[in-house]
Symmetry: C2
Subunit: 215 residues, 2 copies
């Protein structure tokens, strides 16, 4: 796929991000840089560069001479993230549908297909594929900054999905909505897409809210 050569820091960003999303590294106590670097078989320098990037993404925060901490989850942040997605993602996805090429279409179809398979088999790690699907839909919008912001928001929102929604198991409603959404997207029906994405995010937020008060 990607023939482009990526340096170690860039690869570590993805690695460490996945670790944080998986909940492997616990929040609220510092990341041992030496230990993690040794475990990943690299040195501290590229790891620190990766952590610096992740801080900009909002996954970790750094305290001077204290190190990097995984940011803790909060209901307020969940609310904020989803409200931001509601403001940006519908338009971006609709615009992307208008710009999408045949390759983009193929990629979106393939992504939803794998998402379905993963959902059928086991409920674990669905978040990453869910994220990949939504990303495939808004990525061709041709607006690089919007894409980067949305990707960041997707990552942040995935943490909440993993913790609060994923344990509930297969979600037929979301499944259904994904297929409707893809259909409208492939048909380049901008207005319908905008409405569907908006509704889809809102419903996820509602589920999340309900789950959050139940804790």
């Amino acid at each position: 796929m990607s023939l482009i050569i990526r340096n170690l820091s860039d690869q570590l960003v993805d690695l460490v991000r996945d670790r944080i999303l998986s909940g492997v590294v616990s929040s609220e106590h510092a990341i041992r840089q030496d230990a993690l670097a040794a475990e990943l078989g690299v040195s501290k320098i590229p790891l620190r560069e990766a952590l610096a990037r992740l801080e900009e993404e909002g996954l970790v925060r750094s305290q001077a001479n204290r190190g990097f901490f995984v940011r803790s989850l909060s209901a307020a942040e969940a609310q904020e993230v989803y409200e931001l997605r509601i403001k940006l993602e519908p338009d971006a996805t609709a615009l992307a549908a208008l710009h999408a090429t045949a390759d983009d279409h193929a990629h979106a179809i393939e992504t939803l297909d794998t998402l379905d398979h993963v959902t059928d088999e086991h409920g674990d790690g669905v978040g990453a594929f869910n994220r990949a699907f939504h990303r495939a839909l808004f990525r061709p919008c041709g607006q690089p900054i919007t894409v980067s912001i949305l990707e960041r928001l997707q990552v942040l929102s995935e943490r909440y999905v993993r913790v609060h929604l994923e344990p509930l198991g297969r979600d037929e409603r979301a499944n259904e909505e994904h297929h409707q959404l893809l259909e409208a997207w492939l048909a380049r029906d901008a207005d319908k897409i905008s409405v569907l994405v908006d509704a889809h995010i809102r419903k996820t937020l509602d589920d999340l809210r309900q789950q959050l008060v139940d804790d």
Copy 2:
């Protein structure tokens, strides 16, 4: 002001960002890491961490084994940045007005005051103070992610203001709008603020568009 201790990387982010915004480092050929580090009296490691952060902000891009490049300006990006600000900044500023404390009020007033003085004296470097004023208005909104996104967008938009608008000299219209905006903000008139911010950003974008076609 800030009693918090910041490590070298964090300070370098601001330093290098200012350099890029000032146009000191030219776009489209790589940043000499060793040279810049030596000039700033630091080593490469914290400089690279700062550059990694600035890449996440969208000011530079990195190519593997080629180094960091200042991202070039484009009319499309300008348009995108301002559209994003229009989607997010009015609501955030209105919300901030509702949450603002007495200290926030004092800070906003002070910021506009210095902006006025700077504008009177010389047209150079107004961008930074303009950015500080707008930031003072949306910062108290209590939504950290929104704030970080808006700050990033401010930085990106400032580049265009510096290049295309600042050379025109003092802008009475913007000046007037700032004072109206602050008045409504201090009065916590959310609806009025929202309208004013929207209009202010749109007008700046219009000026920018006109200037861009004149190149």
